[in-house]
């Protein structure tokens, strides 16, 4: 993105999106520049079973429909964050209706039950780190996950969350320590289970 466009999206040209022809290009620029960290916000706040893609669509829709409500361009990022958090919370409130096709004729086969081994295999180191981060309090997991998005410096995160930079770095440092503690706790618990299993096996 050029410097001129960067200023346009980041701080200047408040009413650019009111000027007809450039509307769509400007909106695309805003979305393109912000959608990754929006995804990180959604990841930090969404319920486990909500689809990230669906929530991104919700935010994109709201951006198109409601961006004109934002008068101050410096508030676009905080506004997008609020929209994202609202979308994630709304997903948690939606009642899930699980449907099942029950054949009363024909020869529809039952789907095989998912294997536990598969889900075990999914728990690699990176997934465990993300899961541990997602269990943190939102005040900590949000800046930590945002920092994982390229281009999200402490300063930019601070602007997005409307908090001082020092608060952001303190929260990220604390979040990391809590994630590390949790991973170590899990590893110790796993080691303990294996040791117990072996001693029980030897006893039998």
């Amino acid at each position: 993105m050029s410097e001129e466009r960067g200023q346009l999206v980041g701080s200047g040209a408040a009413d650019h999106h009111h000027h007809g022809e450039d509307d769509q290009a400007w909106l695309r620029e805003v979305w393109s520049d912000n959608r990754r960290w929006v995804a990180a916000i959604l990841l930090a706040h969404k319920p486990k079973d909500a689809e990230l893609d669906d929530l991104l669509q919700e935010v994109a829709m709201t951006l198109v429909r409601r961006i004109h409500d934002v008068r101050d361009p410096s508030k676009i990022r905080p506004w997008l964050r609020t929209v994202s958090i609202n979308a994630a919370r709304a997903a948690g409130r939606k009642r899930k209706v699980r449907l099942r096709l029950v054949p009363t004729g024909g020869d529809v086969e039952q789907a095989p039950a998912p294997e536990n081994d598969e889900s075990e295999a999914l728990k690699n180191e990176a997934v465990r780190a993300l899961e541990a981060a997602q269990r943190l309090h939102p005040d900590y997991r949000e800046p930590l996950l945002l920092r994982c998005v390229r281009g999200m410096s402490y300063r930019r995160i601070a602007q997005t969350l409307e908090l001082p930079v020092t608060t952001i770095e303190t929260r990220i440092a604390r979040a990391r320590r809590m994630v590390r503690d949790e991973i170590e706790f899990e590893q110790e618990a796993a080691t303990m289970r294996i040791t117990q299993g072996q001693s029980q096996g030897a006893g039998a």
Partner: protein, 208 residues
Amino acid sequence: MEPTNTDILISRIVDDEATSKDWESFEQLAALEPEVWKKLAREQRDAANLRTAVGVAVEAADAIELPLGIAGAGAEHVFSRRFSPWIGWAMAAAVALAWLGADLVPMFNPELTPTNQAGISIVPASADDALNQYRSVGEQEGRYIGEMPKVMVEARAMPDGVRVEVIYLRQLLEREVVNGVYGLGEDDQGRATPVPIEPRVIQASDPI
């Protein structure tokens, strides 16, 4: 549990936010407590792991475009929502398949498939051949509609450090005519029991 100055210092280094003064402080600290190097290495590793996991997740955003150009943007939204779960992962799957390289490309090789003299395949030579046969027969029967983009489940480096093992979900779209559609409800005693449902209330994204 407030983070210590060492925690914050290490966090800044991990995040590429450390100034030269921070580095000086860290080196002075490390001279007294060599253990902090180990701590830094561990934090670097944790951060890299987290970046990988978050990176894969947020990549989905690149495939989400704004619903522009339609009044109210409603119709496009519905279309996008219906297929959105596939779009993000399709890109990941494409990357994963690129890693696989030529190993996955020859999906069907007629020369490898045993045939009788009339040229009719008897036993599929591979799983890919069997799948192609299924597609062919399924299309004739009207059962097989198509294949959705593959969903990458996991990718991990092989011990040789060169190749990558990719585990992905293959999803086939099929058609079936049934005599009724039922949801899962409860009977008087709270036990799960099938309940008839009007097909028109079923949304495309509902799980079966």
